[in-house]
Every structure is written in C-alpha cells, then in structure tokens.
Amino acid sequence: MEEGAFLKFNLVVKAHGVPRLAGRFSGPADGLGEGSPPMKTTTCTLALLSCLLFDGSASAHAHLRAEDPAAGGTVTAAPAALSLTFSEGLEIKLSGVTLKGADGNAVSTGAPSLSPGDDKLMTVPITGQLGTGVYKVDWHALAKDGHTTHGTYQFTVGH
C-alpha cells in the first residue's frame, strides 16, 4: 500500500511537470506541418512511464490451499471423501487424485466433482475401505487457463 501511494504521488508530480518539457518539441517545428499532437496524451504517457514498474499478462496455476483430511493430520474415523481446495478454478474432467495405502496399493475412489458454486473445491468420494494406517494422496489439477499442477500429501487414519 505504501508503494502504491508513492507511485500515485509520483504520477501527479510528473503529470504536472512534463508539459513544459514536451512543449519545446511542439509548435512550428512540428515536422508534420499541421497542428500540434495531442499533448495531453503525450503527457499522460510520459507520466505513466514513471510508474512503469508494473505491467504484464500472466497466468495462474492452481495451488492446493487446504485439504480434508488435513495434510499430515490424523483422523480417528475413515473419511468418506477427500476434499481439496485450490487457489484457482479447476477443469474437473482433467483433475483428480490417486489414493494409496502405506503398502502402495491404490484405494478405489469415485469420480472427482466440483462443489456447486465453487469451482475451486474438488471432492473425491472414497469407495474403497480405509483401515488404520498412513495414506498418500497424489493430486493433479488443471486450472481453467490450461496450467497443470500436481503434488502429494499424506494423512493417517487411526489414533
């Protein structure tokens, strides 16, 4: 916020400071022979240069923000589903998880779905049996902009 305020201040100062400088190049010496260019626009342009620290077109990746059961956590009862909350909206058809027990065997899961009204929350029903033990979740996500992310976390069912 401090920086933003500084830039705004800078912008105002430049907006008032530039015209005199730019004015030297306009007028009769204008090589195009007719009228002077829209100096206001030029002034704005030059003024904005002073805060040209910004700019850019970017892309967002879906990062895992929260999960239930929590990563590294322990739950006493076997969960009926896994919930994963991401930083971006997901393309659900190309996102999902694999759930594995400590022995490396996969536990069967149903099709992932997004919660209605929140395309950042993916829910995956667990159809297989979860006994006590450590489970590993390998997730992969495709954000709406086509960027893929993946990761792993563990949770424990037991005491």
């Binding site: 190049f25 022979g33 626009t41 700019d55 970017a58 909206g89 190309l94 495709l142």
Partner: protein, 293 residues
C-alpha cells in the same frame, strides 16, 4: 524432444506474432493510411498478411495436441483421443481453441480479397482478444473476473496495434519521397502519431492494472523467475516507448529541414522498436507458462 510446455510457449509465440502482424498491418492500411496509400501498402505488404494468416492457422492447429501433451505430461498424450476430446468438449481452453480455429481459418479464407483490410482487422482483433479467454485473466470471479478479462483483452489489442502497425510504418516512410504519395504519407504519419499516443497509453494503463490483478504487488522479488522476466519485459516496453518518443519528438520535427536523414533515423528507430517488440513477445510466451509466484 523438447518438453511439451516449452513447445506450448513456442506455439504461443508464433500465434501471437501472427495475430499481431495481421492486426497491426491491416489496421494501418484500413484506419491510418488514406485510400491510395493504403492500397499501395497493402500490395507491398501482402507477403506479411499471407505469412501471418498461415502461421495463425498452423500454430492454432498445433496448439491443441501440445496442450494435451502438457496436460498428460508426455508427448504420447498429444494424440490421445480421450485427452483431446475431453479438452475440446469439457474445458474452457477447448472452447477458446475452437473460437481461434474458426477465426484463423476465416482469416486465411479472406486472403484472396486483398482489399478486405477491415475484415482482416476485425478477425485478427478477435483472434488477439481471444487470448484473454485462456491466458489468465480467468483467475478471478464475478465482476473482478470480467474486468480482468476485458482489461487483458484491451492490453493485448493496444499492444498488438502498436507493435503490429510498426511493421507497416517503413512502407509509409519510404513513400514520403514519392511525390504521388507524399501528402497521403504525411497524413498517415500524423494519424499514426495520434493513434500511437493512445495505444501506448492504453498498453501502460492496462498493463499496470493487469499486474495489480495478477501479482497484487510490485514485481520486485528477483528470486522469482516470473517477476524477473516481467521486469525485463517492462524494461523492453519502456525502451520501445523511449524510441517512440525520440522518433516523434526529435526526428519528426527535423523532417522539414533534413528530410532524407530524418526519414532514415525514424526508420532505424522503428526497426529498433520492432526488435524490442519481438523480445516482448518472446517474454510474454514464457511468462505464460510460468507460475506468477
């Protein structure tokens, strides 16, 4: 074999360059140059339009399988019918791809009509704006999301108009010395100057808004590759703006006295601006596959 995501950046670079070329050159012919000069520039820059339209189609067609390879994390997925059909029918990227395919095919279909610059301008404008449908402005929801997409589209269009029209500028400068075109070329330069001020201002304002929306802070963390490349891109844009200002306010005023020399200086300045613009496009393509952390 190069990694799929690197191929995606390259295909994006080709697509951007093609759409910007078609947009800027058609825009110069349709809106900046008076009629006869427009026709002359259209004839001499036809190869640019043919190349841009062809590259637009080829890069669009290649985009989908490369996207599939990125998603499947292997080149085997590139032609996997299951993956391709899910992308095509069930994702926002697929819908945007279909839009781009139709637009780029129409752009190519319009090639025989050399005077259809206005049509080409509209088609390539939509093609450029379609980048905002996937590139990520979709990270926000609601009003902010709509604003982000519109802002991104405006940023791409203003930047495309600026960079693309520079490709047509040397053709206009060369005709300043031709008595048959001198008056029209001067009119075109005057309009180019006004439109240029507007485009540059728009690029900067929308660029600032974009950064605020995406990063939500200043790109000053140089340990982040994304922010480092973003700052490099900003430096290139600042360089282009500087060259444009020098061209307009130092070299153009010299035209009445030292016409030939000033024209050569403006032309060289334009080429330098184009070189920096090519750097910006390359940076944009790579920024597009990086995580804005």
């Amino acid at each position: 074999m190069i990694a799929p995501h690197l191929a995606l950046a390259l295909v994006r670079l080709c697509f951007d360059a093609a759409a910007i070329t078609a947009f800027g050159v058609s825009g110069f012919i349709a809106c900046i140059a008076p009629k006869r000069l427009g026709q002359a520039i259209a004839a001499s820059s036809n190869f640019l339009i043919v190349a841009a339209s062809s590259v637009a189609v080829i890069s669009t067609v290649a985009w989908l399988p490369i996207e599939a390879a990125v998603i499947g994390d292997s080149w085997q997925s590139a032609l996997d019918r299951g993956t391709l059909s899910v992308i095509l029918y069930d994702t926002a990227i697929g819908k945007a791809w279909l839009v781009r395919l139709v637009l780029s095919l129409l752009l190519t279909a319009a090639l025989p009509w050399r005077s259809a610059s206005m049509v080409r301008l509209a088609l390539s404008g939509f093609l450029l704006a379609s980048l905002a449908l996937t590139g990520h402005a979709n990270m926000d929801e609601g009003t902010r999301g709509v604003f982000h997409i519109l802002n991104d589209a405006l940023h791409v269009l203003a930047g495309g108009a600026w960079l693309g029209s520079l490709l047509a500028l040397p053709g206009c400068l060369a005709r300043l010395g031709d008595p048959a075109f001198c008056a029209e070329a001067k009119t075109a330069l005057r309009r180019f100057s006004s439109a240029g001020h507007l485009a540059v201002a728009l690029v900067i304002v929308t660029g600032i808004a974009n950064t605020v929306l995406v990063l939500q802070h200043l790109p000053t963390d140089f340990t982040s590759t994304y922010q480092m490349l973003l700052v490099t891109k900003i430096a290139c844009v600042a360089g282009m703006t500087g060259l444009a200002v020098i061209n307009r306010y130092i070299f153009v005023p010299r035209m009445p006295r030292q016409s030939d020399r000033a024209i050569i200086q403006i032309r060289n300045g334009t080429y330098a601006e184009l070189a920096l613009g090519a750097g910006v496009l390359a940076l944009v393509a790579f920024l597009g596959i990086l995580d804005p952390a």
